[in-house]
């Protein structure tokens, strides 16, 4: 089943957008090509398309305001978002017809490029909204982050307790593995799902990506264990680190998926604001030098 913002009110806004595109095309092609001007933003049809585009941009930007006004009676946010998606896509056509594919190194093309970037980031946003929640739910297997972190805390407490039973060297390695575990980090690290965890073996901290270094270290100690108790301890620790590995993977993937779902807004919103101001410059500059 399609999510509601796509199929809202039986694709009402899809039809509205298609109607808008058809009307814009008709307006565009009604421009005489043999007249005083080629098809462009300066004919009355061009001005009409431009006004339509500007109104669309302003209205599309208002979604951010509408989302925050919980008491608004102006339609449901779902409906607004559905219209936002379809009319935003239609804007791409309207604005392109307005400029008639005339580009240059000027403020007008700047506004156009910003608009394209906003729409493209929006398309990405729509894609992740449609594609990622399923992966996110599958990854978390019904657990929320709080539960997972409680589980991690529990495992780590058990590991600490177990490590205290080993010799000083072992407990130093294990403690450092816990302490130097990293889940988050920079945005880039989160989005790439990079694991910057380290572990201190001896005097140097080595890469402990996916807990593999500490697991390898523990495994290498098993054959060298002089007493049975030590071997049992190592086995228990290996078991715990195995569980920890799975848990960390899940948390990291969770962070990555949610990062991918959030990142586009860090472009979409500032670019929208930039677009609004570029639009003002575009309109004003046309009339300053009329």
């Amino acid at each position: 089943m399609l999510p509601n913002i796509v199929s809202y009110a039986r694709f009402r806004y899809l039809w509205l957008a298609l109607l808008l595109i058809a009307a814009s095309m008709a307006l565009y092609f009604s421009q005489a090509t043999d007249g005083a001007q080629p098809r462009n933003g300066g004919t009355w049809q061009g001005y009409t398309l431009g006004t339509l585009g500007a109104l669309l941009i302003v209205w599309l930007s208002l979604l951010g305001v509408r989302k925050r006004s919980y008491r608004s009676a102006m339609g449901r946010v779902q409906g607004w978002t559905s219209a936002h998606v379809y009319l935003g896509l239609a804007l791409l056509v309207v604005a392109t017809l307005h400029c008639a594919l005339q580009f240059g190194l000027n403020v007008h093309t700047l506004a156009y490029v910003l608009m394209c970037l906003v729409v493209l980031s929006g398309i990405y946003g729509l894609y992740v909204y449609l594609a990622l929640p399923g992966s996110l739910a599958a990854n978390n297997a019904g657990r929320d982050i709080a539960a997972s972190s409680r589980e991690l805390e529990d495992i780590d407490r058990q590991i600490s307790r177990l490590a205290a039973r080993g010799d000083a060297d072992l407990s130093a390695v294990v403690d450092s593995a816990l302490e130097l575990t990293r889940l988050g980090g920079t945005t880039w690290t989160v989005l790439r799902g990079r694991d910057r965890s380290r572990v201190r073996v001896g005097s140097t901290a080595v890469d402990n990506r996916d807990q593999s270094a500490v697991i390898a270290h523990l495994a290498s100690r098993v054959p060298r264990a002089s007493r049975r108790r030590e071997a049992e301890l190592l086995n228990e620790l290996l078991d715990m680190f195995g569980r920890r590995q799975v848990l960390l993977r899940r948390l990291r993937r969770d962070a990555r998926l949610r990062g991918l779902m959030q990142i586009w807004l860090f472009f979409h919103i500032p670019l929208t604001v930039a677009l609004l101001f570029a639009l003002v410059v575009h309109v004003l500059s046309v009339f300053i030098y009329w």
Binding site: A32, P38, G42, L105, D254, P270, V273
Partner: protein
């Protein structure tokens, strides 16, 4: 501020320790300079007092978690709480002696730091700061700076630096090549003189001083021709460059229905829709017509809407095109070949009209004006009747007053030449009388029988003196037969499969014309053969033949808003 800080360890289940802190702003964190140590708290939290026991908590970055949102600053009334880095900060009503109370629970162990990081999600930059930065840059660089530079030379110097945007970035398209000239192309204010004001016509006429309106604006005052801005038709900054309107509506918007606006007395303007058999009226032929007998009152340019074949050329010249194009009758003096059209009609550089046909350059080789078989080198001057008479008199008086010449002439009889009068062999009387008599008879011969009269209309006034007796009608050849249109002979001289005179004769039937009164101009039908708008042939727009800015129009500098 006196703050009662209550620290509860663990999840609030553990022991509780109260601390008294004083200071204007208190720092809680993990660093050495903190007023109160909270191990593992990465972002230092600063606490200051507001009014009515309200606490103000702030963080350098948005690390305070309140109602699900991350903020940099928040206020806490007693009972309210905020989370940061694994700790929970809750304000409570402090006992007397304290300004406020703050309870801290939780533990920033590395796991809570880890999961807080995961929970917080990504934050590559502040959306708000990025938005304002982008908006500010766009406004400053692309609007404010270029706008200030219009009137401020100091700012203009700055924006002219490479890489700094200026008002040229407001341009919506390239200038047409003719305007990419020094002083215009680089300086927007050369044309855009006042912000928010359309370009005035005076800016155009500053350079285009000789441009004229479409018509006499006083005669057509009702049309308000100067009311239409130059830029109404001449749109700059358009891609592809299109400075001059080529479309038919430029003309047909008005000329399709002239009844709607023309003066009722002007019946010559007929409706035009396109260049087709029924969409365009027959051409109006322009001819010079003599006013009065022998153009006594000068010449009138007469424009007549009629088939050229029904009209006569009133130039007063006698000429037979057919004879001159007949190889058997006329040949070139040197190569003895047939004359070609171009022997006399040489196009001007404009490609539209022709260099004038002149007696001296085109006719004299065959039609020499010698008159005395004794002295064939002597020719009459052309174009001046009085000078011709005087030359005749001077010639014959000299001949009859010089005894040697007179004797020689009476003995020798020259060979008789066709078209030449045989002069008197001998004359009884004074040299002056004989000379004048001989001159008068030669004049009669030249003006009435052969000579001038071959090509010119000559009237015999019957006066006594020869100089008053013969009147040669002046000649005025029409140069521009269709004065309201433009035509390029150049571009029509390469008609497919045709060459030489055949191309000329396609439109001008000179090879069958026997009289100079024949008008050899083609009519509309001739043009329609190729250019009929209804037949998908080689279409021509109105401006292909007609000019909008006509010579008859009022000079624009006189009537436009300058």
């Amino acid at each position: 501020m006196q703050l009662l800080l209550r620290r509860r360890s663990g999840d609030g289940q553990g022991e509780t320790l109260d601390h008294e802190l004083s200071g204007k702003t208190l720092r809680l964190g993990a660093s050495a300079r903190a007023d109160f140590q909270l191990p593992g708290l990465q972002k230092e939290v600063r606490v200051s007092a507001g009014r009515n026991a309200i606490l103000r908590l702030s963080c350098r970055t948005a690390a305070l978690q309140r109602d699900g949102a991350l903020v940099k600053t928040t206020t806490l009334a007693p009972g309210e709480a905020v989370d940061a880095g694994g700790y929970r900060f809750r304000a409570f009503a402090a006992p007397t002696g304290f300004d406020a109370g703050l309870e801290i629970t939780g533990d920033a162990n590395y796991i809570s730091v880890l999961t807080a990081e995961v929970q917080r999600g990504i934050r590559p930059w502040s959306t708000r700061r990025f938005s304002w930065l982008a908006a500010g840059l766009i406004l400053a660089l692309f609007l404010i700076l270029p706008f200030l530079a219009i009137d401020n030379p100091a700012v203009a110097r700055f924006t002219s630096l490479p890489g700094i945007p200026d008002d040229r970035h407001w341009s919506s398209g390239e200038l047409s090549s003719v305007h990419r000239a020094a002083g215009v192309a680089e300086d927007c204010s050369a044309c855009h003189q006042k912000p928010f004001e359309m370009v005035r016509d005076g800016v155009c006429t500053d350079c285009h001083q000789r441009i004229r309106e479409h018509a006499d604006v006083h005669e057509f005052a009702g049309l308000d021709l100067p009311g239409e801005r130059c830029a109404g038709c001449h749109r700059e900054h358009n891609e592809p460059a299109r400075l001059v309107r080529q479309d038919n509506p430029l003309c047909t918007d008005c000329h399709a229905s002239p009844d709607a606006w023309r003066d009722v007395s002007d019946t010559e303007l007929l409706a035009v829709h396109a260049f087709s058999a029924d969409g365009h009226p027959e051409f109006r032929l322009s001819r010079w017509v003599p006013d009065g007998d022998g153009a006594a009152h000068g010449w009138r340019l007469q424009r007549t809407r009629a088939a050229p074949a029904t009209l006569t050329d009133e130039s007063q010249l006698k000429f037979n095109h057919e004879v001159h194009l007949d190889r058997d009758k006329v040949q070139t003096p040197n190569s003895r070949e047939a004359l070609a059209c171009a022997s006399c009609h040489v196009p001007k550089d404009s490609g539209e009209h022709f260099e004038p046909v002149r007696m001296d350059t085109h006719c004299r080789d065959c039609h020499s004006l010698n008159f005395d078989p004794f002295d064939p080198q002597v020719e009459l001057p052309h174009g001046n009747t009085r000078a011709a008479f005087e030359a005749l008199e001077a010639h014959f008086i000299r001949e009859f007053t010089d005894p040697e010449l007179r004797a020689e002439r009476s003995v020798q009889k020259p060979r008789r030449l066709p078209g030449k009068r045989m002069g008197e062999a001998s004359c009884e009387g004074s040299g002056l009388d004989c000379g004048l008599r001989e001159a008068a008879s030669e004049a009669r011969y030249q003006f009435a029988e052969t000579g001038c009269v071959t090509c010119h209309e000559v009237s015999d006034t019957g006066a006594d003196t020869p100089i008053d007796r013969w009147f040669v009608h002046p000649v005025k050849l029409t140069v521009d037969w269709y004065s309201q249109s433009r035509f390029s002979h150049q571009s029509h001289l390469n008609l497919a499969g045709r060459s030489g005179d055949a191309i000329c004769l396609d439109c001008h039937a000179a090879d069958t014309s026997q009289k100079a009164t024949d008008v050899l101009m083609p009519a509309k039908d001739n043009c329609l053969g190729c250019h009929d708008a209804n037949r998908q042939s080689v279409a021509v727009d109105c401006v292909g033949c007609h000019q909008f800015h006509r010579p008859e129009g009022t000079p624009s500098v006189e009537v436009r808003d300058l």
